[in-house]
């Protein structure tokens, strides 16, 4: 007899799902029984949060929808942080959760939680399927909503009686999804595009501020062609790293709280800001009143609600970044004369390079630089959250989109290791490295178990300073060095790795860094590197909270 569970598996196969990250439990037994001899690969994680992050990492690395599966109650609740992470960064995942039988809904039944209610604020949409006849349609809609428009997570809650009851036969699945309440705009308005091009032709100091929307839209080639044709410098957000090659002469690196000096000065002095696939996040803008104070603002985004949300916009363009940039390229007649501006920016770049005290000590920035030098952009770099994330963003040279995977909006510690697992299944051809801190790696360290079980060749680079480093940095700078609950006792990560059957190396000297990274990358399976770095190293430059982004501390001048 074909059941709801079988219907679900077939619907997932129709959506092209090849991998599910999950954790079994009572009410999902019927689904797991169908998975047992299905062609879909299931990766058993050690905690449901990791299933959601792995689905997210899979989606970011591949551009396809990631899928995770958990049981009702605690299983579903454990997904929430992962779903919220995906929501904040507009990542397409579909989360499948078991639910108590429909007859027990609302009864405080064993392992019941109102997961559609709980996830309403952190999903693009969610469904509680009460009738097996709706399953095909709901799964199809869920994937459609997740991947189209501004992507995002969709949750589908599946009561046990729906997955066990006989499938309703004769139902045909429509070719396309049509939702009267959901019709995203892809093509930009031509008159607005021409208005923007007119500003571009007249601008003397134009700047492109590009974000995650460029990566999500697959618009890297278009952005590169446009910036080169129009000779406009580009700064990217944390989420936009890799959208264009980091070593491109027109690339200024990251802007914002830990942005480069040249990027933040360029924003402050530009007369035209082309904001592409960005949302003027507070970590980017600093004090919003002083962000790009002299600039006319053009904002391209697929989500109309982002336009004008934080910053007043002169030319709003609602549409898919790729489609709009293609229209820019087609319709551009004249470019502005930006030679003086570009030369001013080059002066800044030469005058204010990124830097740290490169002495004989083992400093975290050096580790990231060596990693960058060895991989040369040919790998996927995942990070945790905190200083490790910012040093990686600043000192690793990203060259291609979807090679940088990090939790930007939510800033989820513990994201990196499970996301790296997901990234591996999306791109088994690429080396995957998780750059971690000793704090965040311990938030999902149980995933060493998953890595070991499936021999996933993820390399974990721990920048171990025995502190919750970013919080310690704020305490040092703004709380008079009162290190309140930010010191962590030393942990022997190599021993932990070994206990799971994973190889590892502890590195305490600068001399050992490059060799250790090469050894890890040359090893077939997973590898853990425990770098004992300078404990009180800070991430600089830095814009203090509430300051304008050109008011940086910890700056260097050549």
């Amino acid at each position: 007899m074909k059941t709801g569970a079988r219907t679900l598996i077939e619907a997932l196969q129709r959506e092209g799902v090849d991998t599910i990250f999950g954790y079994p439990g009572g009410v999902v037994l019927p689904i797991y029984d169908e998975l047992y001899d299905s062609s879909i690969r299931h990766i058993l994680v050690r905690h449901e949060q990791a299933a959601a992050h792995a689905a997210d990492g899979y989606a970011r690395a591949s551009g396809r929808v990631g899928v995770c599966l958990a049981t009702s109650g605690p299983g579903a609740c454990n997904l929430v942080t992962g779903i919220a992470t995906a929501y904040m960064d507009s990542i397409p995942i579909v989360a499948l959760t078991g639910q108590v039988p429909t007859g027990l809904l609302g009864n405080d039944a064993f392992q019941e939680s109102d997961i559609t209610g709980i996830t309403m604020p952190v999903t693009k949409h969610n469904y509680l399927v009460k009738d097996v006849a709706d399953l095909d349609r709901v799964v199809q809609e869920a994937f459609y909503i997740a991947r189209t428009g501004r992507p995002g997570p969709v949750l589908v809650d599946l009561p046990k009686d729906v997955t066990t009851s006989p499938a309703k036969s004769g139902g045909t699945v429509p070719e396309t999804v049509s939702l009267r309440g959901y019709q995203p705009t892809y093509e930009g308005h031509v008159r607005q595009i021409d208005k923007a091009l007119d500003l571009i032709a007249r601008a003397e100091r134009p700047l492109i501020y590009a974000g995650g929307g460029v990566v999500l839209s697959g618009a890297s080639a278009e952005l590169l062609e446009f910036m080169e044709t129009a000779a406009i410098p580009v700064t990217t957000t944390l989420m936009g790293l890799g959208a264009i090659p980091g070593d491109h002469p027109l690339c200024l690196g990251m802007l914002g709280m830990h942005g480069t000096q040249s990027a933040n000065y360029a924003v402050t002095e530009c007369d035209l800001l082309l904001a592409i696939g960005v949302r003027f996040d507070d970590r980017v803008t600093g004090r919003i009143e002083t962000f790009a104070p002299n600039a006319a603002v053009v904002h391209i985004d697929i989500d109309p609600a982002e336009i004008g949300k934080n910053k007043k916009v002169d030319v709003p363009i609602v549409g898919d970044v790729k489609a709009v940039l293609q229209a820019f390229l087609r319709r551009m007649k004249k470019r502005g004369d930006t030679a003086n501006w570009v030369s001013k920016i080059n002066t800044w770049k030469a005058q204010y390079p990124l830097g740290y005290c490169d002495d004989g000590r083992l400093r975290p920035q050096y580790v990231v630089e060596q990693l960058s030098d060895i991989l040369k952009g040919e790998g996927i770099i995942v990070s945790e959250v905190g200083q490790n994330q910012m040093w990686t963003a600043l000192y690793y040279c990203f060259k291609k989109p979807r090679t940088w995977i990090t939790s930007g909006g939510l800033g989820t510690m513990g994201y990196g290791l499970p996301a790296a697992i997901g990234a591996h299944y999306a791109r088994p051809d690429m080396p995957v490295v998780d750059v971690a801190g000793d704090g965040s790696i311990q938030m999902n360290i149980q995933e060493f178990g998953t890595v070991a079980q499936y021999d996933i060749p993820v390399k974990v680079v721990i920048l171990n300073n025995m502190y919750l480093g970013m919080v310690r940095q704020w305490q040092e700078l703004f709380y008079d060095r009162r290190y309140s609950y930010t010191e962590l006792p030393p942990v022997d990560f190599v021993k932990i790795a070994n206990a799971y059957g994973i190889e590892g190396l502890k590195v305490e000297e600068k001399d050992g860094v490059r060799g250790a990274i090469e050894t890890a990358l040359a090893t077939d399976g997973p590898f853990v590197l425990d770098f004992r770095v300078e404990r009180e190293e800070n991430v600089f430059p830095m814009v203090p909270a509430g300051a304008a982004i050109n008011e940086m501390i910890g700056v260097r001048q050549r």
Binding site: M120, I145, Q183, G308
Partner: protein
């Protein structure tokens, strides 16, 4: 800050009201009143929401509401010619004959209906715009209002124009 009346056409599905109301509260938008019910389309409902905010805030409210998958159309009726009505039921103390006579007179002026007569109370039903109901409430307070309930505002565009599905 100006008062705006938003007309929101939604799918008539479980949880829709919760999605709309939840989005307003988590984004810190205050709802003055909200009325929801079925409408001319069989599978849709119409929600009328009254909010206070400057134009930028109200624009954000409308855009964020529109993003909800179950929301079909959002319109701001404020600047357009529309009919706006509320209904209130007011239970007022009427223990003496004199009070009772005065209340009935006031009700007559406001074209309110007496829908229940008790030994010590009257229940009045009044419809109208917010100001009219506020005025009646103020006048009746001297007699002692025992209980009061208001529906929240509902509104329709005047003339042939409609707020229909076109999103």
């Amino acid at each position: 800050m100006k008062q705006h009346t938003l007309s929101v056409l939604v799918e008539n599905r479980a949880g829709v009201l919760s999605r709309v109301a939840g989005m307003f509260s988590r984004r810190g938008f205050n709802i003055e009143s909200l009325a929801v019910g079925t409408c001319e389309e069989p599978n849709m409902s119409r929600i009328t929401i009254v909010v206070n905010g400057d134009d930028g805030v109200v624009e954000q409210m409308m855009k964020q509401t529109n993003k909800l998958i179950d929301v079909i159309k959002v319109s701001d009726l404020t600047a357009r010619e529309s009919v706006k009505r509320e209904l209130a039921l007011i239970k007022v103390a009427a223990e003496t004959g004199a009070a009772r006579a005065e209340i009935l007179q006031i009700a007559d002026i406001f074209r309110a209906l007496v829908v229940d007569v008790g030994a010590k109370t009257l229940v009045l039903q009044v419809t109208g715009d917010t100001g009219k109901i506020d005025a009646l409430e103020t006048l009746l307070r001297q007699y002692g209002i025992k209980e009061l309930v208001r529906t929240g505002k509902i509104a329709l565009l005047r003339g042939a124009k409609t707020v229909k599905s076109s999103k």
